[in-house]
């Protein structure tokens, strides 16, 4: 039987960025009361990366598990609602599509909707795919209302996430964690002591000479990977050859455009620019590849297209896409940027933090550190990272752009076998391969495949079993119902006013049809 009930596990979280405080909040809330003694150490002098504003719907489950009140959370983090991401200029200059948090129409006779749509297209009675997705129509009209649990309603076909100030979120979770007994220490770690026998981390030393010991260390120290890399030398799998962007500039500005319930990712000559509207400002950034452009050009490209003057000096960031060879090694579990980095194109970093916390809770060790916990954690988390990686690569690779060297490189690069296979299968049949792990479900893959002009050679032959009349009526009804529902929705800004006035009655976390598990 698990023994450490008499003597709590001592857990030290190293780092107080989004990863550190999400971990502190998750563990302090979900670990048994006397099971662990949780401390967190962070250094104001070093600071956090201070970017990361967009999320995917998973975060609602995380907040719900913590018991966080949505209105309160949104007010304090200046959050807006997010129905998806708009991608501009990715496949061709002038293109725009939205990857929505939701599904297109439902299966008909076990045949997925998009297959019927492909047929309808061939036979000349299809509208744009967007017309069959309520969250896209709503997003294009800057509308937002909450999804419904009633599966007969079009409002049950989507989910949502937030765009928020991650710094404020970390503060929010800090307060939350401290109230649950997490002890925070301010100070810079300057040394790490390893156990000479088994190489485990025994303790860390702070600048003021104090020593912090623990049984389990959670490395949330950001890119530097203070424990997992600097102390344990775990190694890193570099994925830059598939995702060549390695730098970014980030800068906020005042809102001077629409308060969109979605983020925008616009492809540029050697990277892409994000626009993320929050309640009090707009977050902007340019993610680019230093191999294909230089910093000055990248900065200019960003600043020149801002909708208002920059509120701060643009912040410059360096990163290397990839994953630690082991995200859990010995008694160190790395979570957040210390574990690996996937660029923010699909806003997956916070989600991957959350997924890692979930797996850590599943495999939570005791003081014996059975290696099987580490093996299983690394196996499943590795799959999650790889599948998000493949999804991101698809955005770059599925392009017809040949206007810059960067896009030529992306178009021609050899992608991982796992992605090549997925693309081939989709082209042959319109089918998306099923896996148990992997955050993005079929509908997300459809959105990006179609959005980037990857079409199956032909539609599913089984779709022909539905008579043309029936299908035509069905599809017309669906797009009409979507338009009607969208037109009945309030503007995003109005829903936000209600949230801020605490007028929204806290609703349950609805299911997430067609999107994240």
């Amino acid at each position: 039987m698990p023994e450490p009930i008499n003597k709590p596990m001592r857990v030290l979280i190293v780092g107080g960025g989004t990863a550190g405080w999400m971990t502190a909040a998750g563990l302090s809330k979900l670990l048994p009361a006397n099971y662990a003694d949780i401390q967190l150490v962070e250094s104001q002098q070093i600071g956090t990366v201070g970017v990361g504003e967009a999320t995917v719907p998973h975060i609602r489950f995380f907040n719900a598990k913590l018991g966080i009140d949505e209105n309160d959370f949104m007010r304090k983090t200046k959050a807006t609602f997010k129905l998806g991401i708009e991608f501009c200029d990715w496949s061709r200059l002038g293109d725009s599509y939205i990857h929505p948090f939701g599904e297109y129409g439902k299966d008909i006779d076990s045949v997925p909707f998009h297959q019927h749509w492909l047929r309808a297209q061939q036979e000349g009675f299809a509208e744009k795919l967007e017309s069959y997705s309520l969250p896209i129509i709503a997003a294009r009209e800057d509308k937002f209302s909450f999804p419904s649990m009633d599966i007969s309603s079009p409002l049950s076909t989507f989910s949502y996430a937030y765009q928020f100030d991650a710094g404020l979120y970390a503060q929010y979770l800090r307060k939350f964690s401290e109230e649950l007994g997490v002890k925070r220490t301010e100070g810079k770690i300057i040394d790490t002591q390893l156990n000479s026998e088994n190489g485990f981390v025994n303790s860390v030393t702070l600048e003021d000479g104090s020593v912090l010991e623990a049984d389990l260390f959670i490395d949330c120290s950001g890119f530097r990977g203070l424990l997992i890399e600097q102390a344990l030398k775990t190694g890193y799998d570099d994925w830059t050859k598939w995702l060549p962007c390695d730098r970014a500039f980030a800068v906020p500005c005042e809102t001077n455009g629409p308060l969109t319930p979605y983020s925008t990712a616009t492809a540029k000559d050697a990277g892409w620019i994000w626009r993320i509207p929050l309640q009090h400002r707009v977050g902007n950034g340019h993610v680019y590849s230093s191999a294909f452009t230089n910093d000055d050009q990248a900065l200019n490209a960003l600043v020149n297209q801002l909708e208002s003057a920059p509120q701060t000096e643009p912040k410059k960031l360096f990163f290397k896409t990839g994953i630690r060879k082991k995200t859990w090694s010995k008694n160190v579990v790395s979570i957040g940027l210390s574990a690996g980095f996937l660029e923010p194109l699909e806003s997956t970093s916070i989600m991957l933090i959350q997924v890692a916390i979930g797996y850590l809770l599943d495999m939570f060790p005791d003081k014996n550190f059975d290696p099987v916990n580490e093996t299983e954690f690394n196996r499943v988390l590795g799959l999650e990272y790889e599948r998000v990686r493949d999804f991101l690569i698809l955005h770059y690779h599925a392009t017809e752009r040949d206007d810059t060297e960067f896009w030529n490189y992306c178009r021609n690069m050899q992608v991982p076998d796992s992605l090549a296979y997925r693309m081939q299968l989709f082209k042959e049949s319109g089918v998306v391969s099923h896996y148990k792990e992997g955050a993005f479900l079929d509908a997300s893959w459809y959105a990006v495949f179609f959005g980037q002009n990857i079409y199956p050679q032909n539609y599913d032959p089984r779709a022909d079993k539905v008579s043309r009349d029936v299908l035509e009526k069905h599809m017309a009804l669906l797009s009409n119902a979507n338009r009607q529902s969208a037109s009945n929705m309030p503007l995003h800004s109005l829903t936000l006013q209600d949230v801020n006035a605490n007028k929204i009655i806290n609703h349950a976390v609805a299911g997430i049809p067609g999107h994240a598990r």
Binding site: P32, K65, D362, D370, V372, E376, K427, S429, V431
Partner: protein
């Protein structure tokens, strides 16, 4: 689509359930305007007892509609009955029995899986039997039955079930359905298979001296694997080192009593007997290892178990458990026994057939020569077959019979890597790792380990977040609701009558 190409012709070779179910499913899915189908009733060269009952298991999700069974119809018109699981006896210990329920066991408390809660109580000296918290086990025990109502959100909706059905009857029905959907049935046998220069099947030479060409050939010839073997003769992966039984003998007898809502799997000194009833009939099959039991012994054991003396046509058959390396090769797909043969202790043959057809229906490409589609079909089916095999083989590996040489040998079986890992994870902390394409869910694995005496050294520490009383109350409440629910269910016999009545009045 109808005009640009001429029709694709699909030939299905075989005379039995595999062929007829395939023909029915494909002709449901594909339009007559674009496809034509023929079934060549190539006789089976193995002695298969067609009058044989098998079971389905809870539908894997999502199951393609064309392989769903119309339960009410089958119960009313084809003597089918419902099943809630499998009663196993003598596996862990000659005198001990347990139930493999198809429904989930208990319910989570917050994020903590039920079996971790049970382990915690056991540490306090409180005995817990997992199946006592599975609705299907409780109902089966009470011989009561009812499928949940569509809108039920209570614990009663956790009920999961399958069907017991006579495969001969089902085959006849599927043939009729296929005929009604335009499938052409041809009485002929395949003499030789001609291969073209690309290694595809070019045509079949029939005994009627006809030559038959087609775009796609589906091999449902069972063990003979007449077509796919012609493409490549070394593609059968034998599982004999994992699944020790190598012979079987079956018998179907009439029975007057109402069938049990579960099947029985009774281990004996050199194998096991499967017993499974439908309305009016029972099939018994003895799976055994020929080195440890003679054919005569095997047949007499079967007659003892069946209380029957009419064993005239019972002959023992060799079985060779295993699967194809790839069930879809070029323009030939092996489906059913030609593709996989499994020891049915965990997952039934009929279940794997339905699941393969469901996968095929979900993937069927317009251009038959689609490499990624073929790879995906093989990936999914192979994973499922191997997961089913792994589950089956644990029954042997983890047996607790100390007297019999057969069973002692079974304990020395070396597990495949993935299974070894799954077992290790469970032993370490009661954790169940499920991979892609698992035919059985967490509860089946937990229950199997638990009933075979595998103790986890540790469990999820989050259990300590709850007071003992909270756990006890949680478990008590689940059981109360389930027992109450079961008490309100009709007996199996009455329920069958009710289903028939409703059906006939429609």
């Amino acid at each position: 689509m109808h005009d640009n190409n001429s029709k694709q012709h699909i030939v299905i070779v075989g005379d039995g359930l595999d062929a007829f179910f395939t023909a029915a499913a494909l002709s449901t899915n594909l339009s007559k305007n674009d496809y034509s189908f023929s079934v060549i009733l190539h006789p089976s060269n193995t002695k298969t007892n067609y009058d044989f009952c098998d079971s389905t298991q809870p539908d894997p999700k999502p199951l393609h509609h064309s392989v769903c069974l119309n339960e009410d119809y089958l119960v009313s018109q084809a003597q089918a009955s419902f099943t809630f699981g499998i009663a196993l006896s003598g596996w862990n210990n000659p005198r001990v029995a347990y139930f493999h329920p198809y429904s989930s066991i208990g319910a989570k408390l917050d994020t903590v899986a039920f079996h971790h809660l049970a382990m915690r109580l056991r540490d306090e000296g409180i005995p817990v039997r997992l199946a006592n918290f599975a609705l299907s086990a409780l109902a089966a025990q009470a011989n009561r039955l009812q499928r949940p109502l569509p809108n039920d959100r209570s614990v009663l909706s956790s009920c999961e079930w399958g069907l017991h059905i006579n495969t001969k009857t089902l085959a006849t029905l599927k043939r009729k359905q296929a005929e009604g959907q335009g499938v052409n049935f041809i009485q002929a046998s395949v003499n030789t298979v001609e291969i073209d220069k690309n290694g595809h099947i070019d045509s079949l030479n029939l005994d009627s001296s006809n030559k038959l060409k087609a775009d796609l050939f589906i091999d449902c010839t069972g063990q003979e694997a007449k077509l796919i073997n012609a493409l490549h003769d070394k593609t059968w992966i034998s599982w004999s080192e994992y699944l020790p039984c190598d012979k079987k003998v079956s018998l179907t007898i009439n029975s007057a009593t109402s069938p049990a809502a579960y099947s029985f799997s009774q281990a004996h000194t050199a194998g096991w007997i499967r017993q499974l009833g439908i309305q009016g009939k029972t099939t018994l099959s003895n799976y055994f290892h020929s080195a440890h039991m003679s054919d005569e012994q095997s047949v007499s054991l079967l007659s003892e178990a069946s209380n029957s003396t009419s064993l005239n046509d019972t002959a023992c058959e060799k079985i060779n458990f295993g699967r194809r390396q790839a069930s879809w090769l070029k323009n030939c797909i092996a489906i059913g026994t030609s593709s996989v043969e499994i020891d049915p202790i965990g997952v039934s043959r009929l279940q794997l057939l339905r699941s393969s057809l469901s996968k095929l229906a979900g993937l069927f490409p317009r251009k038959l020569n689609s490499n990624a589609v073929i790879a995906e079909y093989n990936r999914r089916t192979n994973l499922e077959f191997d997961n089913a095999r792994d589950f089956a083989m644990l029954h042997y590996k983890l047996n607790g019979r100390t007297q019999d040489t057969f069973w002692k040998e079974c304990r020395t079986i070396e597990l495949p890597e993935v299974l070894e890992y799954k077992l290790k994870l469970y032993q370490a902390r009661g954790h169940i790792a499920l991979y892609d394409e698992e035919p059985l869910q967490e509860q089946s694995w937990v229950n199997l380990y638990d009933e075979h005496g595998i103790k986890a050294r540790n469990y999820n520490p989050l259990v300590y977040g709850f007071k003992l009383d909270t756990i006890k109350q949680h478990m008590h409440r689940i059981r109360e609701i389930m027992l109450e629910g079961v008490a309100k269910m009709p007996t199996h016999a009455n329920y069958l009558a009710q289903v028939k009545n409703n059906f006939n009045n429609k």
